[in-house]
């Protein structure tokens, strides 16, 4: 009788675990996959693509309408309309928009075309896998041909001059806050009316060069691995590791560089192609990553440095 509370507690835990796994299995069911991915994409569009008035008017109206009336998410016409607005809006600013806006446009076009395909789910899974693999392939190619990336100069300069990275430069790299501020001020001087032919000394930290080297090689390594896994023939060799490596990339990259739009389009595309025969809960993990990236955007490294530094 002395064991009764312990047994009751175990039994309660077992019931909670069983219910959670049943929910996760239901959430990850193949027949619900398209609705999950379409909803992720709509949330992304509503929150992160609005740069011109017609994109605001068009994408926001269509997106909110789709959230209120879900069946429209299965209409090819709806996705073609979204793609058209995105393509026109992004074409106007092709020289300054971020690369993930291109990816979002391709992705919406792929969703639209999938509704016309003989096998919509296969079409979308193939396109999701190839779009991720190719985007990473070009990212790796650019890094390999960039002299200042391969020398480590890019990440060192970024840590010291880009305020988004100042938190990690201070906490891990040992740079001083006034020194980093001075670097930003020097750049601002140059951008305003300073003499462009004059260089300037950059304030650094004791461990910044090492940190820059680690970031340089980790980034190119993980991106090359993701490329290989996603472009490898499906269900063979490296292809089996694609979901784990992409999640590793997302969770190690976006807390430092919170580009939510990019992370979200990657998770939406990855959710369509994940292999649930080997591990059925990938859609749940991608959805958690989708949420984690959003949280990390509001809690970037620079904000938690106060907790880590004396």
């Amino acid at each position: 009788m002395a064991d009764a509370p312990h047994v009751a507690s175990l039994s309660r835990w077992h019931r909670v675990r069983t219910a959670a796994l049943a929910w996760a299995a239901d959430f990850s069911a193949p027949e619900r996959r398209f609705d999950l991915v379409a909803t992720m994409t709509i949330v992304l569009l509503v929150l992160y693509t609005l740069s011109t008035w017609y994109m605001q008017a068009g994408v926001l109206c269509l997106g909110v309408f789709a959230l209120l009336h879900r069946p429209i998410l299965r209409s090819a016409l709806f996705w073609f309309a979204v793609t058209f607005i995105l393509a026109v809006g992004h074409y106007q600013g092709w020289f300054y928009i971020d690369n993930h806006k291109y990816l979002i446009t391709y992705w919406c076009l792929a969703i639209a075309l999938s509704r016309l395909a003989g096998e919509p789910d296969r079409f979308l899974a193939l396109n999701g896998r190839l779009l991720i693999g190719l985007a990473f392939l070009f990212a790796v190619v650019w890094k390999l041909i960039s002299e200042d990336y391969m020398s480590g100069a890019f990440f060192e300069a970024t840590l010291l001059q880009d305020p988004r990275f100042h938190g990690v430069a201070e906490v891990v790299g040992g740079a001083s806050a006034p020194g980093l501020q001075e670097n930003v001020q020097q750049l601002r001087t140059l951008r305003s009316f300073g003499d462009p032919s004059a260089g300037f000394s950059v304030s650094t930290g004791a461990r910044v060069p090492l940190l820059a080297q680690v970031m340089t090689w980790w980034t190119i390594l993980i991106e090359a691995v993701v490329t290989a896994c996603f472009l490898w023939p499906k269900d063979r060799g490296l292809s089996r590791w694609r979901d784990a490596t992409l999640l590793a990339f997302i969770l190690t990259t976006y807390p430092l560089a919170p580009v939510v739009g990019f992370a979200w389009v990657l998770t939406a595309m990855a959710t369509t192609q994940c292999d649930t025969r080997r591990f059925r809960y990938w859609p749940v993990l991608y959805t958690l990553a989708f949420l984690a990236v959003m949280v990390s955007a509001y809690l970037p490294f620079s904000r938690v440095k106060g907790l880590l530094l004396p």
Partner: protein, 223 residues
């Protein structure tokens, strides 16, 4: 049943092919037309220091009295476009727009003295320059020294310090676009050439030194 064409394998690869096409085109433009690797759909972000935020635009008006830096706030060409891909055609377009403007040329110090009378956008722009910050520091320093003289107490060292990062060379003459018709009593300067430059940035980790370099430059003769 989907139409026959939509079951063709080529249809399944159309969107990835579009990505490859645009990314290939971006690599070509980045190497031939000064497009920054960060932009243009080639996924070159976080691969180089040569991003738009590290590029600097300068437009100079060449007059018989010398050069003047044009404050291009009123020009219609988008700055993002210029910094993203400063090819010859874009820089020529800026030159032509600059040539079509009416200009008034002032010594830089005079502009800072008259900042209150400038248009709102330029006032805000100049107010955040290190040159203005240096002026504010100098005024604070003069006041602190005057107070120390009158009270006989030593001045507060924090108040008399002048930030050396603001001691960069500045252009001696600047040009502002003027409304047409020109205000009475003002004279149109004679502009011989318009030179537009875009500068990039290099970082040397060994020397810990950032060095700007001239990325592209176009001079438009107005003869």
């Amino acid at each position: 049943m989907a139409p026959r064409t939509l079951r063709h394998p080529a249809f399944y690869y159309a969107v990835p092919a579009l990505l490859v096409l645009i990314a290939g085109w971006q690599i070509y433009r980045a190497h031939m037309q000064y497009l920054t690797p960060w932009k243009g759909g080639g996924f070159g972000m976080f691969s180089t220091v040569d991003g738009p935020t590290n590029r600097v635009l300068r437009t100079y008006l060449v007059t018989p009295e010398g050069e003047a830096l044009a404050l291009y706030g009123t020009l219609s060409v988008q700055k993002k476009r210029i910094l993203g891909m400063p090819d010859d055609r874009t820089l020529e377009q800026i030159g032509r727009e600059a040539a079509a403007e009416g200009w008034a040329i002032y010594p830089f110090d005079e502009v800072l003295d008259e900042i209150a009378s400038l248009p709102e956008d330029l006032r805000r722009y100049l107010a955040q320059t290190p040159a203005m910050e240096r002026r504010r520091q100098e005024r604070r320093r003069e006041k602190a020294l005057a107070r120390a003289d009158s009270t006989g107490e030593p001045p507060d060292s924090a108040l008399i310090a002048v930030d050396t990062t603001a001691l960069v060379p500045y252009p001696t003459r600047v040009a502002f676009a003027q409304p047409r018709p020109r205000p009475p009593g003002t004279v149109e300067p004679e502009i011989l050439q318009v030179r537009t430059e875009v500068w990039g940035m290099r970082y040397d980790p060994d020397r810990r030194w950032a060095t700007p370099y001239l990325l592209n430059s176009v001079t438009l003769d107005l003869d």
